[in-house]
């Protein structure tokens, strides 16, 4: 790794002393949030735990009484859990986009945010798996998927690709983290015993030798390539859960790319929010700079435009034909019962962000974080609109069933469990950021033209000389 393609312009401008200074400073900054947690941080974790435990209680009630405690019934037989699952899978794709696509396409500015993107990916995919188990009528029989699994079922494809993606994402989070864990091991000596033990074990004896750097960078290079088809697979297969059925509104060949495009857009917005929060909470202004927000803003515009293109294909082409049951569904989305939600989602989650972010001022940290928040919330509701209205617009008329079966509004149990899953994702991210550096020191320094690999090996260097 001695190519100079990624080196910043100021590389030659820095003296050795300045580089050393940079290194000491960034290490102090990234370790500061790990050393102590302030009152706001504690309150935040307590709040997330509270939401999480309320959800656990709701799930206990659901296990005890069955899925009748939800608002789902024979027509709306999939509801909030499934749309939340799709949302989590969508968010998780950003790990591959930021850490891999940008890396392979020789962009440099992304480097300080790779870890944020990866931990979002890992925590979202963990809860995607959990929420699917929550949706099952018989979670006690989940092992049947392995005992009696049939390869022709898209659910089995999903189980395979989601678990593979989780494993790969974990490695993608772990490998670049090795120097960071070693840093924790060496510097955080006052931490409790279990934590010191954890750092020591996870660091895998990292000492920063050239050999270790070589292995680590090569491994990252391999995963970098592996993860792209995997990421596209998980969301394409998730789209196929719907597209392989005959239901009007799902029976679409556009669904795979449409889902992937929406996933990149929603995930990028999620990373922007996380960047903003970490920047403020952990005082990372020097490393998560306005340049990063500016670049992420441009990326988000690009992704919104692509997503809009797939939306046009998904809605406008069938709307031109207005065929049968699908026509009824589209009318209900455009002008009927779902119209307020549908147009809010399309406007605030896609059209307005794409336009607003064209202005440089909107790409400043605070405005873009607000816009990104709209995108993420809209993305969540968009998945709801992809699942529920279609279930309630079947070919056969909904008749001879209790009146509440023809509508769907989630019960408190569903809302509590889904809130708990969202809180769980935030909890994983928060706890992770309290145990490990949330920005990658070596990648950030590399971006500034400082090779940590060389600096950590002064002895070897002098020997070479």
């Amino acid at each position: 790794m001695h190519t100079n393609t990624h080196l910043g312009p100021e590389y030659n401008a820095l003296t050795d002393e300045e580089k050393r200074q940079h290194r000491i400073e960034i290490r102090e900054v990234v370790l500061r949030p790990l050393k102590h947690t302030g009152l706001p941080g504690k309150l935040w974790i307590a709040f997330l735990l509270l939401i999480f435990f309320i959800g656990c209680y709701a799930y206990y009630l659901q296990l005890k009484n069955g899925l009748k405690v939800t608002a789902m019934r024979d027509y709306a037989s999939w509801g909030l859990y499934i749309s939340n699952f799709v949302f989590f899978v969508a968010i998780s794709l950003v790990g591959a986009l930021i850490s891999s696509v940008l890396r392979l396409t020789n962009f440099d500015w992304y480097r300080p945010i790779t870890r944020i993107a990866e931990i979002i990916a890992v925590s979202a995919i963990v809860f995607a798996g959990l929420i699917i188990i929550v949706d099952m009528g018989r979670p006690d029989r989940v092992l049947n998927l392995f005992v009696h699994g049939r390869i022709q079922s898209p659910i089995v494809w999903d189980v395979i690709v989601v678990s593979t993606y989780l494993a790969t994402s974990l490695l993608f989070l772990y490998f670049p983290l090795l120097p960071g864990i070693a840093l924790c091991r060496d510097k955080l000596t006052e931490k409790p015993k279990w934590q010191r033990w954890m750092y020591k074990t996870l660091a895998l004896g990292w000492n920063g030798s050239h050999e270790q750097w070589k292995i680590m960078k090569r491994s990252i290079g391999i995963i970098c390539i592996l993860i792209i088809p995997l990421a596209i697979s998980i969301h394409t297969v998730t789209a196929w859960l719907f597209a392989t059925t005959l239901r009007p509104g799902w029976d679409s060949t556009n669904f795979g790319p449409y889902f992937v495009a929406g996933a990149f857009q929603a995930g990028t917005a999620a990373v922007i929010i996380a960047m903003f929060v970490f920047r403020k909470a952990y005082s990372l202004q020097k490393y998560l700079t306005e340049v990063h927000f500016n670049q992420m803003g441009k990326l988000l515009v690009f992704l919104c435009v692509i997503y809009a293109y797939f939306n046009l294909n998904e809605y406008l082409v069938p709307a031109y034909k207005m065929r049968g049951a699908e026509g009824k569904l589209l009318n209900d989305l455009f002008t009927g019962h779902y119209a307020p939600l549908y147009w809010s989602v399309q406007l605030f989650g896609m059209a307005l962000p794409a336009v607003l972010l064209l202005w440089k001022k909107a790409r400043k940290p605070l405005p873009i974080a607000i816009i990104a928040l709209f995108v993420v919330v809209a993305a969540w509701f968009k998945r709801y609109l992809i699942v529920t209205p279609i279930m309630l617009h079947p070919y056969t008329p909904i008749q001879s069933v209790p009146a509440n079966w023809a509508v769907y509004f989630p019960s408190w149990i569903e809302l509590a469990i889904v809130s708990a899953s969202l809180a769980g994702v935030l909890l994983i991210i928060t706890i992770f950021s309290k145990l490990f550096p949330i920005i990658s020191v070596w990648e950030t320094l590399e971006n500034e033209g400082i090779e940590l690999e060389e600096m950590d090996n002064p002895k070897e260097e002098t020997e070479k000389i």
Binding site: R138, L145, G149, I155, T245, Y395, P397, Q399, S400
Partner: protein
Amino acid sequence: MENTNNMNNDRRKFLKFGLLAGGATLAGLGIQKALRADTIPESGKKVKLMTADGKLVEVDSNHMKHHIAEGSVTNAEARIGIEGKKLVMVIDLARCANARKCVEGCQKMHHKRAPVEWIKVKKMQDTNDSAPYWMAQPCFHCDNPPCTKVCPVDATFKRQDGVVLIDNERCIGCRFCMAACPYNARVFNWGDKWGEASDSTAAGCASPDNCSHNSIETSLQDKMGTVSKCDFCVDMVRAKKLPDCVTNCPNGTLFFGDANEDIVTNGEDTFRLSELIKDRAGYRYLEELGTEPRVYYLPPVERNFPFEEDKVPHNTSE
């Protein structure tokens, strides 16, 4: 003499059972051991029997009686189906007057109550200007079933006799089959004893053994958190009886039969299936979806009854 006849009958049935359930792999000793484990007291009277693989075994006569059950079909057999049959249904829309007796008969037969209806009667109107009609809608037991394709654990499957069944002991409750069925023929057991009739006695079963025996075919084994649906009453078919929706209809709307024999009947009138479809312009609902239903409809022309709106709404509460 009578006793010997009974004995012969019993013997024949036992041998049949042995053939069906035990298969050629069951050794004679195995059967004996299994029977000994039963709780029924022994009479002390032993009967010599020949097993399917030609071995002579001795069993207690009391135990033999216990196993007289044509309906006691193993899960492996229930997955294959009734040999030589291709079950089919024809619904004559000209005869349907929305009496809803098929719904009631089905519920009684399967110990169900509202809100569970495995067969529904729906008001259909193809266009704004065309005349409305009533349409009974069971599971169509499609030959290209979208539901069985998507099942991740093979809990729902297509049989040789055309029937689509569900194994409630295997179903994981993901409800993908419900999303995949374009006709919404499937129902979910949202809670414990969901839609289960309170008088879960043996009455209404094709044979009492069916009710005690936990078989895929009897569909009496619905479990919380699993999917169920119309099963074409295959246990009734094995007992050489018509499904209850067919026999319960006062207007003879529903015809049931075997496409291999090219015959359908509503219990009173019997037709050649091919001729009936040809003469009465039979069709299948939403043919364009390509699911190949095994239920045909005869168009509502020259109706026996004028169309009347429902006076009271049905199935209104859980």
